[in-house]
């Protein structure tokens, strides 16, 4: 069996001295696997995926991404980050740069590519999320759905092996959710490893290899979507599903 791309080995994290936000997280993610993380708010699901690219430090256990152990080594962290793309709930596009400049910033300054090369690939990625005609606009001139698609394209520009999605559709107006999900579904079909925190259960059912339920900092249940939704084992999963599906 090949080495997993991401390995959580009894990872623990506290906020301050009191709040134990991740408890003994153990999870292997194979290359190409698509995982949806769900759970009630405050359950630690965002914190979990923010650990993968080192936006959150952890205090106990060991987290390995693409062969690098995440810790205090800043260089190793930057190497990991270039292989891990992230999409945020609030888009976090750079408002003072055009769409194209948002996409080429990291290739030029982190990966040291030439501007021409970076721009060519940026346009390809914009094509991929069907927004190439907006390349020279500023982010705030676009709709929320368009902005999130630009953010996905920006993360893809470094050709990451892993994509993290932190509630990518939660800040969108309802009519714009589908255009973002469509792009994510397309991406899922192309073999990239995905870790996605979302409440879009339809998306989870359609693309996930495994669905994870987190509660109070722990992984409560891990199962393929068919089992997870139709035969949930844990009472807390059943409870969560009944609330989120509104039955």
């Amino acid at each position: 069996m090949t080495e997993p791309l991401i390995r959580f080995d009894r990872v623990n994290k506290w906020y301050g001295a009191q709040f134990h936000v991740l408890r003994d997280i153990t999870l292997d993610v194979a290359a190409g696997e698509r995982i949806v993380v769900c759970g009630p708010s405050g359950s630690g699901k965002s914190t979990l995926i923010r650990c993968v690219n080192g936006l959150e430090p952890y205090q106990g256990g060991r987290l390995t991404v693409a062969g690098e152990t995440l810790g205090d080594d800043v260089r190793a962290l930057e190497r990991v980050r270039r292989q891990v793309g992230m999409v945020f709930q609030q888009f976090n596009l750079f408002p003072h740069l055009t769409v194209l400049e948002n996409l080429t910033l990291a290739p030029i300054f982190a990966a040291r590519e030439s501007r021409a090369e970076a721009e060519a690939r940026a346009l390809q990625q914009l094509e991929r999320v069907r927004i190439a005609d907006q390349a020279h606009k500023y982010p705030l001139q676009l709709s929320g759905g368009q902005q999130q698609r630009v953010a996905i394209a920006r993360a893809l520009c470094l050709r990451p092996r892993v994509m993290l999605f932190d509630e990518p559709t939660s800040a969108l107006d309802p009519e714009m959710i589908q255009e973002v999900l469509d792009v994510m579904i397309e991406l899922a079909g192309q073999g990239i490893t995905m870790l996605c925190v979302t409440h879009e259960m339809g998306f989870a059912r359609a693309v996930a290899d495994r669905v994870i339920l987190m509660d109070e900092g722990q992984i409560v249940e891990t199962a393929p979507p068919a089992e997870f939704f139709d035969r949930p084992q844990h009472p807390r999963t059943r409870d969560f599903l009944s609330r989120i599906l509104g039955h």
Partner: protein, 370 residues
């Protein structure tokens, strides 16, 4: 009961309330709407005419324009004596700079003004601007200082007037700004040593008046150095101004830094960008754009604060005025006219800066159009 509903589009839009047009209609409504309003309008108008007439008489009609001392003395109380400028203008503008070499001070002033003007134009915002400034400043120093290319040497304590004011203000700002950005970033650093140092610096420098700093730079500092090793007084004073301005400016910049949402830095980090690139390309462009008015405030402050160097015997514009008039009992009574003259120069500088800042703001707003 059925309510007949006209389609919304068919309903005529209510007319925009019309209050009449034209200056006359406006004046009738706003200035003479009631008896009280009419009375106060007439009173204010009368006051304005009276003041305006007085100023006109004093400044123009009864004023003496030639350097004619008896005429000036005769006109005292009734008219301005602009003749004082004809007589002493050279001293005010160039201080104690040797008369025979005055063309050098004039050329240096023109060169500095040209550099400043060019830097304000967008089409000059190119990589060659910095080398141009360095070359320009070298030329300014060569002109003023002499000792090269057959120019006779002029010691820095003889420099004065407008070129000194411009030099202190420009260099003070140019040195203070990068230091301020570094201090602001340092104060938000995750390294406690750097953070503490920056906080100490800012609080200490803001905690003393500029005058006391200039005193220290001028009189105290040389005491700690071996005789003959003291840097030039101009450099010491310049350092004092720049270090002082940087402390204030740093807090303005920090205000901008704090307004940048955390998500911006996280997004940049998640792209694998390092700290320097994140600050340079993501955080600072946004933070500085937010605080343009505050930055310009500090710049204007530096420009006017240069007048304090008189206290350590460097005669910039304000000091040169005192120098020109205090020692001459005949012309001393016409200090007011002299002050009005340099006030006009300061005002022209400050007003230009403030208009420029508005232009920069408008430009930034355009590029961030939403």
């Amino acid at each position: 009961m059925a309510i007949a509903q006209a389609p919304i589009a068919a309903r005529p839009a209510p007319p925009v309330p019309q209050g009449g047009r034209g200056a006359w209609v406006w004046a009738r409504r706003e200035l003479f709407g009631s008896a009280l309003s009419s009375a106060s309008t007439l009173l204010a108008l009368g006051l304005l005419i009276w003041l305006g007439w007085g100023l006109l008489r004093w400044g123009l009609l009864n004023a003496v324009f030639g350097a004619d001392l008896p005429a000036c003395q005769a006109a005292r109380g009734q008219g301005a004596c602009w003749g004082v400028l004809a007589e002493k203008g050279r001293l005010v503008l160039f201080g104690r700079y040797p008369l025979a070499e005055q063309w050098r001070a004039e050329a240096a002033t023109a060169l500095l003004l040209a550099l400043i003007g060019a830097s304000g134009l967008r089409r000059c915002w190119r990589p060659w601007l910095l080398p141009l400034w360095i070359a320009g400043l070298a030329l300014v120093f060569a002109l003023l200082r002499g000792g090269v290319a057959g120019l006779s040497g002029v010691a820095t304590d003889l420099w004065g007037g407008l070129p000194l004011t411009l030099l202190l203000a420009t260099l003070g700002i140019a040195l203070a700004f990068p230091l301020a950005v570094a201090l602001a970033l340092g104060r938000r650093s995750e390294l406690p040593a750097i953070r503490t140092l920056c906080v100490l610096y800012i609080e200490l420098l803001r905690g003393v008046p500029l005058i006391s700093l200039l005193f220290m730079a001028s009189f105290l500092f040389p005491l700690f150095l071996p005789v003959g090793q003291t840097p030039d007084v101009l450099l010491r004073v310049l350092a004092g101004i720049a270090l002082f301005a940087a402390a204030y400016l740093a807090e303005t910049v920090r205000g901008g830094l704090q307004a940048i949402p955390r998500g911006q830095v996280e997004a940049a980090q998640s792209l694998g960008l390092g700290w320097w690139v994140i600050q340079r390309r993501v955080v600072l462009p946004q933070a500085l754009a937010l605080v343009v008015p505050g930055i310009m405030n500090s710049f204007i402050g530096v420009f006017k604060d240069t007048s304090l160097v008189t206290i350590v015997s460097l005669y910039e514009l304000t000091g040169a005025l005192g120098l020109a008039l205090n020692s001459d009992a005949d012309w001393r009574p016409f200090m007011l006219e002299g002050y009005l003259f340099i006030a006009a120069i300061y005002f022209a500088g400050c007003f230009t800066m403030s208009r420029y800042s508005l232009w920069v703001e408008a430009r930034l707003a355009r590029s961030r159009a939403r």
